[in-house]
Amino acid sequence: MELDFGPTPAAEREDALQLNFESWEGPLDLLLTLARGQKVDLRQISILALVEQYLDFINEARALKLEVAADYLVMAAWLAYLKSALLLPKDPLEEPSPDELALRLQLRLQRLAAMREAAARLLARDCVGRDVFLRSKPEGLRDVKVRRWDASLYDLLAAYGQVKLRTEPVVHMVSRRPVVTLDAALQHLRRLIGVKLDWAELSDFLPADYDGPLRRSAIASSFVAALELARQGRIALRQEGAFEPLYLKAAEA
């Protein structure tokens, strides 16, 4: 791990064309770098001088038509205010006083400087993989899981019960489907044809209490029975058109 402090501002300013805002981590960082240029302890720094340095720097950058990010401009505006407040005769009623604002800025710079130095000292420590090395292929410690199976007597008996139940001999009962056989339909139709004298619809010949599958079966077998009786010349059939009701009556002897 190495710490990259970036180019120093002095070097930057010698070649102003290389003045580059990417070198700083924000306006506070730029201020800190400028403050370092005063070569005094941060506690003794002249905030007024620092403010002027910052404003000069930003003006220089703008003169060079460098794009200055908004937060640097916000800081510049605030520092310009601070500068005028510091230069004007003190107004004891003004809150917060410019001295207090300057103090706050100084405290922030001290804290940032402290962390920057801490980061450098941290990275200068003996780091694993750079200064000290570990075993590259340790055997490793392993946890081996030993399976322990769990079941209760109830589980066992219930399982056996279900095996028994599943494999018990089963009596197969074939249920009869409700159908009207052709024979039954023939007999039924023969019986009724003598009773009805005029043309009657085929459905009138079906027993009224047949419904559902039984009725469908009765229609089918009665239709076939009607065709058979017509073939035998015992009834006459009449239909107005396709899918129209089918009428039948006894053939005239």
Binding site: F133, L134, R135, S136, K137, E139, G140, L141, R142, D143, V144, K145, V146, R147, R148, W149, D150, A151, S152, L153, D155, L156, L157, A158, A159, Y160, G161, Q162, V163, K164, L165, R166, T167
Partner: protein, 199 residues
């Protein structure tokens, strides 16, 4: 203890951090060839002797040296932990059939269950030490037959196999109640899925 020689320290660190065993020539090369391989070998022997009898060993394999954990301490590197698991529905059935019908062969178990039984199910029950092979049936193919073990009786709190309730007891207890069947079958399918995942 005398302070350790700098070259000895360097060689020790090198062998420790290396990702492959090193021979004396390689070590000498990495040290900038200030020493001959023979000198390096002598120092390696000193290091090995220093660690002898400790929890770290420097060993030679075909001229290459590496650090390792002594073989007699290998058991410390693995720790066994209990991993309790619920017996699957299929395994419970097989176990029950063995208990009620022992000794039985796998084919007989399948005939009773009415479904194929995977080898894994019997393995699980043998791993649990609840069933054990009990010889072979003297029929064509001489199939292995299984019986339950003492550990089985102990786990299920039975004094002997005679303690197992009869079919009539099971029916009286509602364990032959078909109402549960659909539910149990649904559970059984889930178990099968799990078995499949484990396989």
């Amino acid at each position: 203890m005398n302070p350790i020689d700098d070259r000895e320290r360097a060689i020790e660190a090198m062998l420790f951090a290396s990702d492959a065993p090193l021979d004396a020539r390689q070590v000498a090369g990495r040290l900038g060839d200030e020493m001959t391989p023979g000198e390096v070998r002598a120092i390696i022997q000193t290091i090995a002797a220093r660690h002898a009898g400790s929890g770290i060993e420097l060993v030679e394999r075909g001229g290459n040296w590496h650090f390792q954990t002594p073989a007699d301490l290998a058991h410390l590197l693995r720790r066994e932990r209990d991993d309790p698991r619920k017996l699957s529905r299929a395994a419970s059935e097989v176990l029950a059939i063995v208990a009620y019908h022992e000794p039985v062969s796998r084919a007989e178990i399948e005939a009773i269950r009415g479904v194929q039984t995977s080898k894994g199910t019997l393995d699980v029950l043998m791993e649990a030490e609840w069933i054990a092979p009990a010889g072979r049936r003297e029929v064509p193919g001489r199939p292995l037959i299984y019986k339950t073990t003492d550990a089985f009786l102990q786990h299920f709190g039975l004094t002997s196999r005679k303690d197992l309730p009869g079919i009539d007891d099971l029916r009286a207890a509602g364990l032959l109640d078909p109402v549960d069947l659909a539910f149990e079958e649904a559970i059984g399918e889930l178990d099968l899925v799990k078995d499949g995942e484990e396989a």
